[in-house]
Symmetry: C2
Subunit: 197 residues, 2 copies
């Protein structure tokens, strides 16, 4: 409620990135001007003047889906085999991973704009806050997906349970610990009230 | 086995970051020269010449632990109340989050070196690959923690289940969906064979 009032006093802001935030070696954040207009109820904010930390792409994820609209709506909707190809530099980091049944895969959704705080995804009726959604659109478009690890071959991991587009940049792989990562009774209240489509 | 052979042909590489990867606005990766020597069995690699993408710190996490050695060994070891303070710019993104029981918190472990592929943590006997461990030391030191959301007050989230040091930079907050994030029977084989200390 408070948050809504806060935004009722404001209008959407569409901005390009400040020039000092651009460098040749980085992926530039996508903003409204580059990726299309806002939907009704969506709110964009001005992005910070500068970045605070930087990432390496450590590999690529290969999936059967070439375009975002082809992807499953969530990772459990598909059993498709996907391949994570790690840059050879990091191959030593895989030692011991073959004993793990599930991995947490972090990847970079490089096509997503970063300036929306309220979003109105097509499949939900009303706009919601970015941090209440798993949308790729967020200040730091890092996806977290749990995948079943089928096998490791050299610098390749064969997994199922990913839903990203082909050639998505990989940021990290972690072992999934049921003791700390699994909360079977967790609830997303706003979502529980929706019919699944 | 293959991976071990690969490293037996190599020696540890200790390098500063290449100068073209440094900018004033970024956190510089920590390497051996800055953060101390390698332990027996540990292997460092040369970091890539350049970064691929960049992050905003969107807030800070406040916890009772001032130094890394004071932190719980994992998030379920403590029920301490922690506070996530979101930068006011992003407050709109919290709308709807109050209906969520658990959140996935992404944060940046800015004190960690980034160049190790084999690590020998104090509490385990043998070195293991970075991607088989949840150590902060990794090419992209992004932590993923599941926390119980107690309440939201303005730009503050009160949570339990975090284990990071006070003032840790926040990268993202996501709703935890049991349907896709919870795998109660996941197994970490190398860990299952160890006694818990």
């Amino acid at each position: 409620m408070e948050i809504l009032q806060y935004f009722q006093q404001r209008t959407a802001v569409w901005l390009d990135m400040p020039p000092n935030a651009r460098t040749e070696t980085m992926t530039e954040p996508k903003t409204a001007g580059e990726t299309g207009d806002l939907r009704e109820g969506e709110v964009a904010v001005r992005l910070p003047e500068r970045f605070d930390a930087s990432l390496y792409y450590i590999g690529r994820i290969h999936t059967p889906w070439k375009r975002r609209e082809d992807c499953p709506k969530n990772p459990r909707e598909s059993d498709a085999l996907c391949t994570i190809v790690l840059e050879p530099r990091w191959i030593g980091g895989l030692q011991g991973l073959e004993t793990v049944s599930h991995v947490v895969v972090l990847y970079w959704m490089d096509k997503a704009r970063r300036d929306l705080v309220l979003q109105a995804p097509h499949h939900y009726r009303e706009p919601r806050g970015t941090f209440a959604l798993r949308s790729p659109v967020r200040p730091n478009p890092i996806a977290v997906s749990v995948a079943r690890l089928i096998r490791v071959e050299g610098n390749r991991l064969f997994v199922s349970g990913l839903d990203c587009v082909d050639d998505t940049p990989l940021l990290d792989i972690k072992p999934y610990f049921a003791s700390t990562d699994s909360v079977p009774d967790a609830l997303v209240g706003w979502h529980a009230g929706l019919k699944t489509e």
